[in-house]
């Protein structure tokens, strides 16, 4: 499956990755090669196979409804790029 430069741009947008224009052909080539590798999966008929989502075939373990966390805002925000009045700041969100 060959990916075109325009496919790469679309995926990069979906994944929120800025990719320089001059790098796009290389990404297109590499991603096409990877998808070529992936296409080998088609050699096997899997109609009757149950998908395996996880190596552990166990059910979820639940936790009791207890409060175990304390306020650590100061610590957490000491590593934040931009905060004010306890809020994380981002460029204006337009709805």
């Amino acid at each position: 499956m060959a990916l075109t430069p325009s496919d790469v741009k679309k995926i990069a947008r979906l994944a929120r990755l800025a990719v320089a224009g001059e790098d796009i052909p290389a990404y297109a080539r590499n991603l096409s090669n990877i998808m070529g590798l992936v296409e080998q999966m088609n050699a096997v008929d899997t109609r009757e196979v149950t998908p395996m989502a996880h190596p552990l075939e166990l059910p979820a373990r639940l936790r009791p409804d207890q409060i175990s966390e304390t306020n650590q805002r100061e610590l957490f925000q000491s590593i934040a790029p931009k905060v004010e009045a306890g809020l994380y700041l981002v460029p204006k969100v337009i709805e």
Binding site: N30, M35, V38, L56
Partner: protein, 484 residues
Amino acid sequence: MHTKTIAELSRALKQREFSSEELTRACLRRIEKHNPALNCYISVTGERALAQARAADASLAKNEGGALTGVPIAQKDIFCTKGVKTSCGSRMLDNFIAPYDATTVERFDAAGAVMLGKTNMDEFAMGSSNETSFYGAVKNPWDTAAVPGGSSGGSAAAVAARLAPAATGTDTGGSIRQPAALCNLTGLKPTYGRVSRYGMIAFASSLDQGGPMARTAEDCALLMQVMAGFDVRDSTSVDKPVPDYTATLNDSIKGLKIGLPREYFGAGLDGKVAQAIDAAVKEYEKLGAVVKEISLPNTSLAVPVYYVIAPAECSSNLSRFDGVRYGYRCKDPQDLLDLYERSRGEGFGAEVKRRIMVGAYVLSAGYYDAYYLKAQKLRRLISDDFKRALEQVDVIMGPTAPTVAFNLGEKTDDPVTMYLSDIYTIAVNLAGLPAISLPAGFVGQRPLGLQIIGNYFDEPRLLNVAHQYQKVTDWHTRTPKGFE
């Protein structure tokens, strides 16, 4: 001091042949001397280490503490360490001082071990050569023109060069076993769910597993004793008693049934590596093991399946790195989209971006069934191959990697060639099985590894089988030139 294994250091510390502080200072001096050439540490935490060493000495003076009290180790820089930079090999987290400890870090601290520093790694554990690190490539101490393997390449190089007696690694597709093989170490990838993933920065959640990297199987057993165990903070951690991993090391392996998958010895395997593996298997026969040829028919699908599942999970796991709450943020974002795209575009390296894009692509509308669902079905077939094989044999043996270490820069242009170097390790992660790699010879001056795959939670047997080999061979005792 630096030539000793953990088991030896533990005995020496208990007998006060030297103090933990002396030992730690010696390790730090070696790091200072050799790290610039090898680049195996991202952070060296000297002060923290010495404080831990002094605390350990205080315990030892009171005849307290366990096997690892006062023993220095290195942590892969994927494990969050409170108050210490935890970069995951990425520019994205170059400024990230972790606000909490990973369970693995907590457990080693509680066991009295001394953390020397955080080791270099492929960015977000994505790579097989340690060349994708933001902090530059790591060099293989056995041959500095060669890669140390990846993604736990810093841990492997550090232990091989005796810059740490042991280290932690993580293994998503071979990231403990392959660098262990390429650096002449013993590395154990535990059963999925045996070691907590809490605080271990996720690459592919259904595949990631932390484990020990050391010189001997005995050392791996001592480290596993600390790392293994149930953790309420990890929903995928299995609540199952932890066996005494050292108790069974010396059990006889007479009658052990070894399966050799014919698919692991076909085209693509370097002839000299094949010879060395054959020789190792012969050694096992001498020890009374019985060898049987088996088949894992879906082996060739493991790499394609892995390159759907791992990127899919990684694309989602790495979405949290958005420049909002921590980590890299681009300069002067114009708007929200710009903040996201440039923070992530500039913060991640090329291989990480490739995998995120592959993952976003295979999960995107219209492709899910053809790629992700298909891969999940094949994952079942691959897993079933192992189930059938392990009904006939006790362990499966083969090479860890198809070749010895390749040269730095040799495979960086073509990701697919790089991916294929993990052909023998990847299937084990898809199935969630435990596997160990141990030193089994050299091609020229570059080491190679024997991989032993066991049944779920059968780590004691893997360690026992590896230890028995190490009692009759000396590959694991060899030291790279210049680091004796």
